[in-house]
């Protein structure tokens, strides 16, 4: 199946699923979220967000992008504010719309300098205890570059977890980078495990590279 067909299939599936969800930028009121993500060959990211309210969180982040086309690199440090624009709590499902904005600076490898960088993004998600999906878009822009990272995740749980039991998800991820970081859509198959405040996931991309993420809420 070519990449265009895969992308279309993903979005059609998304449209027909009862939900989408992802790692959320806001955990709960007075909660702190620490997240680190590793995408071999393309991106590395780390974030620490504190939520004074259930609908608001803020904190610093770091994003490293490396082009697997020409090896240009950006190292972006930023401060960001996340806002839960809308939440739907249903009897057996939850859906959210998050938006965020931030600013920072980026090291740009080809000019060997640091530039002011703006960040904006959004995420919609919906999840039940068996089906999970999220669509996220994250834009970083400076005088010399503009990179948008769009990530679609669709997950299925083989069983319904409960509060005290381990949650297991099999997640298919499709990610597109603009600004010549990666050609086409990067696909990944991930195994996600979480229990209480701890979350780990790992998998492999269609290029055979490691994709991993760890997150803690406390």
């Amino acid at each position: 199946m070519n990449l265009v067909c895969k992308s279309l299939a993903g979005f059609v599936l998304l449209a027909h699923l009862p939900g989408l969800a992802g790692a959320k930028p806001i955990a709960f009121s007075h909660g702190t979220t620490v997240m680190a993500e590793y995408g071999a060959g393309t991106m590395k990211e780390a974030q620490v967000f504190y939520a004074p309210k259930y609908f608001l969180s803020l904190g610093p982040g770091y994003l490293e992008l490396e082009s697997d086309i020409d090896h240009r690199r950006r190292e972006i440090t930023y401060a960001r504010v996340n806002y839960l624009a809308k939440r739907w709590n249903m009897e057996a499902a939850q859906a959210n719309v998050f938006v965020w904005g931030g600013a920072g600076q980026a090291y740009v490898s080809e000019t060997n300098d640091h530039q002011f960088t703006g960040n904006a993004g959004a995420q919609i998600d919906y999840e039940t205890r068996r089906v999970y999906s999220s669509l996220k878009t994250d834009l970083y822009r400076s005088a010399d570059f503009s990179h948008r990272i769009d990530t679609l995740q669709l997950g299925l749980a083989p069983y319904k977890h409960d509060y005290d039991t381990l949650a297991t998800w099999v997640v298919v991820q499709a990610r597109r980078f603009t600004g010549e970081i990666h050609e086409g859509t990067e696909w990944a198959l991930l195994l996600r495990l979480f229990k209480r405040g701890g979350w780990i996931e790992a998998g492999v991309t269609d290029d055979g590279k490691l994709q991993a993420m760890a997150m803690v809420n406390f």
Partner: protein
Amino acid sequence: MKKLLLAGLLAALSATAAADTIEMKVYGLVCGFCAQGIEKTLRKNPATEDVVVSLEDKLVAIATHPGQDISDAELTQALTDAGYDVKGIARTQRSMTDIRAALKKDTK
């Protein structure tokens, strides 16, 4: 007569203990990773003795210390602050042990 008095005393104690359990029906409980905010928030309340969360039953149960209570308004605020919607609050006669046992039975 002594037996009657003892039975009456036990019944009174039992009723007092039963009033210390609060059960809430909560919508949006789909993820244990996210629901921990509920437990964290409720355990901060000095009246809270124990908390049970069940995603399967959409249930948040709280045992309060004897003679103490948490108002419906406080409970609703706590759950709202955690990002969830409270659909019902009831003072029940189930102990936390009974609730845990029932939940365990449900999952088998």
